[in-house]
């Protein structure tokens, strides 16, 4: 090659163009296909192009090295300027304008032309013809043809100013054919006379054959360049292959190509169109991928199992090794299944490979799946630009479970589920503490209309637990946060359930306890429930011995319900745990065995505010709240019971007696409710205790309470119709109650006041705890996010 001197602008321009053509990033060779497209975009006659290629030596070498390419560009400029093509001209022609390329499929070229060209006019004209961005592909084709047709004035080949040379002549199919032609390495046609190309262009050719040789061809080609790649996907010949097109074959190919590679072509085109980021997925491409994904997996949030993906990608006829590599790159979370993002990335890589791009060693950023699939939306609108460790199976909501083949995901599932489980357990432990704390508070005042729905937790939490488990195992791809996400929802569910579900049998308590643990979302509540239940269980016959609630010394609460109360209150005081409610295990043979701790349990659960009530109605709180057993209870009951939904009469009776002890009972309850929650309850309890100290001074003796509760029950019963169970018990005891009605009134009123106070305190406490819970959850989420981010690195 003769020495080539380039000006700075030229140098820059040429190198950019070279880079553009260097689709394989070899830095040495410009892809023939691209070069051809480029030359076509120069709108030079075919023969000129051939001549250029010959001169630059590409035909001799068979490829476009950088020097050849530069020389070729220079010659293009020369030709466009109207100078005869000669080897010497590359250096002799001074002030040569930069070669102009029209409507090359690359906006880039046009851009470059615009930026570099000193010929503004030409630029203008060019820009006019520049077709819309390559991405438009087919659309562009049409438009380009139009554009080219219009500006086309003459077929002056040498006229750079006539960007659109032969648009007019290029029949609609020209682009296609052009594609083909572009494919065919003009390099090999160096010697081809003008007529030579004729055959190639024949397809367009039909329309233009007669006319100036290559002009029409050129113009028509502009759009095609991008499509070349399309074709490559469907067609075997790689872009770099120099093919000699036979007119017939060309035509056939064209049609075939257009038909067969309709979709692939689009993809390829799009792909090649993004010069800046070869791995960027355009919207069209993405849409196409999504459609393909749907054919395999209708649920956009679901996974495509490995086997299905394997079949699908095998159809692309890439070698298995490459497919394997593509899979490695795209299966970001290594779970053996492809999420939508992963699938799009894989498809994109396949398309790229088909187009001749080499596979990267690592996944390009634009193809990385979202890091954390917080948004469970299945939409794939955005390119998987987020880099991130999709750690927890991104976007794999539980719904995926059915779609995920267990086999493929054995490993990932194991890993992930283990991870999830691990975190889960962590949560549970934390929740446990939380719950305990809460339980301390809650049970405080069963009567305080805390009415926590919470107590019921056992059942619901259990359900949630199961759901959680299912979700977890099912969705490997769930984000690490997804469990959290699930949890919040579970939380709400749980709370609802809790409220709705009365503290049922103790069985549930036990379960609930564990499950509640799992539900971090509602650890406190759960804890409360659990504890409550536990306590209740002790009292209530059906309590399945929930985890032994803190030994509630509160004598007042013989039943678990009372325990709750005691627990909540006692937590703080600790001392007052009169085992009233006797944690479930120590169910004192309260006189009110019938009164299942149920009510109590319920109560305590409700009661964040119960705590406050502890003092006032320690007894009431756990179990009895519903029972309008004692005046105290009545007071509470009025406020609390209503809130609470204990419906178990059992509880109430027991609670009542327990509560009778009021102060002690409450303290007991507090103690019982939850030693863990002691902190809070402690604070509240003392207050409660101090306040409430009802005349129930004597340690809550179940028996005593019971009696009293009966008395109180009566009034309360009247007030709390909710507690059906209680009512029953109360009613039963009613006959015996009337006697102390008069005295009860005052007591009731007093207890009511106390209960109310307790209630408010507990309510406040509750809100504070809720806030804390939220904070903790947020922290957890952030930690999990971090964990996810770190996870990929931990393996290596």
């Amino acid at each position: 090659m003769e020495g080539l001197t380039l000006s700075d602008a030229e140098q820059k321009y040429y190198s950019d163009l070279f880079s553009y053509c260097d689709i394989e990033s070899t830095k040495k060779v410009a892809a023939n296909g691209r070069v051809l497209e480029l030359f076509r975009a120069a709108q030079l006659p075919n023969d000129v192009v051939l001549q250029i290629m010959e001169l630059c030596g590409a035909t001799r070498l068979g490829y476009f090295g950088r020097s050849q390419f530069y020389i070729a560009l220079k010659l293009v400029a020369v030709a466009q300027s109207g100078f005869p093509l000669r080897v010497e001209s590359i250096n002799t022609v001074k002030d040569l304008p930069l070669p102009r390329f029209v409507a090359s499929k690359n906006e880039q070229e046009s851009r470059h032309a615009a930026s570099y060209s000193s010929d503004s006019e030409n630029q203008g004209s060019y820009s006019g013809v520049i077709p819309p961005p390559p991405g438009r592909g087919q659309v562009k084709k049409g438009s380009v043809s139009h554009d080219t047709v219009q500006p086309r004035t003459s077929a002056d080949q040498q006229e750079p100013a006539s960007p659109v040379v032969s648009p007019q002549q290029s029949p609609p199919t020209s682009p296609h054919t052009w594609r083909k032609h572009s494919r065919h390495p003009s390099g090999g046609n160096s010697e081809r006379p003008l007529t030579g190309p004729g055959p190639f262009w024949s397809p367009f050719g039909e329309a233009q054959s007669g006319s100036s040789a290559g002009d029409a061809v050129w113009s028509g080609h502009s759009p095609p360049p991008p499509q070349e790649t399309w074709v490559s996907f469907a067609d075997t010949p790689p872009t770099s292959t120099l093919l000699t097109m036979h007119p017939a074959s060309v035509q056939d190919q064209t049609t075939v190509r257009t038909v067969a590679s309709a979709t692939t072509a689009n993809e390829i085109r799009r792909q090649s169109s993004s010069y800046d980021d070869p791995w960027k997925i355009t919207d069209e491409q993405r849409q196409y991928y999504v459609n393909q994904f749907k054919t395999i997996q209708p649920d956009l949030n679901g996974f495509i199992p490995g086997s299905a993906a394997k079949e699908f990608f095998t159809k692309s006829k890439l070698p298995i090794l490459e497919l394997s590599h593509i899979w490695e790159l795209s299966d970001f979370d290594k779970d053996g299944a492809l999420t939508l993002d992963e699938f799009c990335a894989a498809f994109h890589l396949v398309v790229a490979r088909k187009n001749g791009y080499d596979l990267p060693e690592k996944l390009p950023e634009s193809l990385m799946p979202k890091l954390i699939d917080l948004e469970d939306s299945a939409d794939v609108g955005d390119q998987p630009g987020e880099v991130g460790y999709s750690g927890s199976p991104a976007e794999a909501p539980p719904s995926k479970s059915p779609s995920m083949p267990s086999l493929n995901q054995t490993w990932p599932e194991l890993n992930q589920s283990s991870e999830q489980w691990e975190t889960f357990s962590e949560r549970s432990s934390s929740s446990q503490t939380l719950t305990q704390f809460d339980s301390n508070i809650a049970p405080a005042d069963p009567d305080t209309a805390i009415v926590h729905p919470v107590p019921i937790r056992m059942t619901p939490s259990k359900i949630h637990m199961q759901e959680m488990e299912l979700k977890r195992t099912g969705s490997d791809h769930t984000n690490p946060t997804s469990p959290l996400l699930v949890k919040p929802s579970d939380l709400s569910e749980e709370s609802k359930i809790n409220s709705s579900v009365k503290f049922a049998s103790g069985n549930t308590v036990a379960d609930g306890y564990s499950s509640s643990d799992s539900f971090t979302s509602d650890p406190e509540q759960i804890g409360n429930n659990v504890t409550h239940q536990r306590s209740h269980s002790g009292t209530s016959p059906d309590n399945t011995a929930p985890p032994p609630p803190p030994p509630r010394p509160q004598p007042s609460h013989s039943r678990s319900s009372s325990l709750d109360m005691n627990r909540t209150f006692a937590v703080t005081t600790g001392q007052q745990q009169a085992g009233v409610v006797a944690h479930p295990p120590a169910v004192p043979p309260r006189p009110q065995p019938s009164q299942a701790p149920g009510p109590v349990v319920h109560r305590p659960v409700d009661a964040d505010g119960l705590i406050t009530h502890t003092s006032t109605s320690p007894q009431q709180i756990p179990e009895q709240p519903n029972f309008a057993d004692f005046s105290q209870f009545e007071v509470f009951a009025a406020s609390n019971v209503n809130e609470e939904q204990d419906d178990e009469a059992e509880k109430h009776p027991e609670v009542l007696p327990v509560e009778k002890a009021s102060d002690p009972a409450s303290s007991l309850r507090v103690a019982k409710t939850d030693s863990k929650i002691e902190e809070k309850t402690a604070a509240s309890v003392p207050a409660n205790v101090s306040k409430g100290t009802t005349p129930l001074a004597p340690p809550p003796k179940p028996v005593r309470r019971r009696l009293k509760s009966e008395d109180e029950l009566r009034p309360e019963v009247d007030e709390h119709t909710q507690k059906t169970g209680v009512l029953a018990a109360v009613l039963a005891s009613q006959p015996s109650i009337p006697r102390s009605v008069g005295k009860d009134k005052k007591a009731i009123q007093a207890s009511i006041r106390r209960n109310k106070e307790t209630n408010t305190v507990l309510a406040r406490l509750n809100s504070e705890l809720q806030q804390q819970l939220k904070d903790v959850l947020e922290e957890r989420i952030s930690l999990e996010v971090q964990l996810e981010q770190l996870r990929p690195f931990s393996h290596l």
Binding site: G306, S307, A309, H325, K334, N415
Partner: protein, 109 residues
Amino acid sequence: MVHTSLDVVDEKISAMGKALVDQRELYLGLLYPTEDYKVYGYVTNSKVKFVMVVDSSNTALRDNEIRSMFRKLHNSYTDVMCNPFYNPGDHIQSRAFDSMVTSMMIQVC
């Protein structure tokens, strides 16, 4: 070396009967008079065996290091397995896997 490896495998098989859950096996006893190398064995739950031969000239690697290496190997192997295009039993051609292994080896040596 090959024979030793086979022996190692045999030994593992026998060990399998006892403790299937045994995740790791330090087979340090395999030191030949001339060949001073150690062979470490690691079997997965799916009976996939990893055999690591270490040259004793290298300061004996600590047991923990060996374990961690095996763990990493196991993890990479599972990643390779996840690839549906990979048939168990084929020669592993995963670049990521190879790079991991290489880095591990370099790290030790």
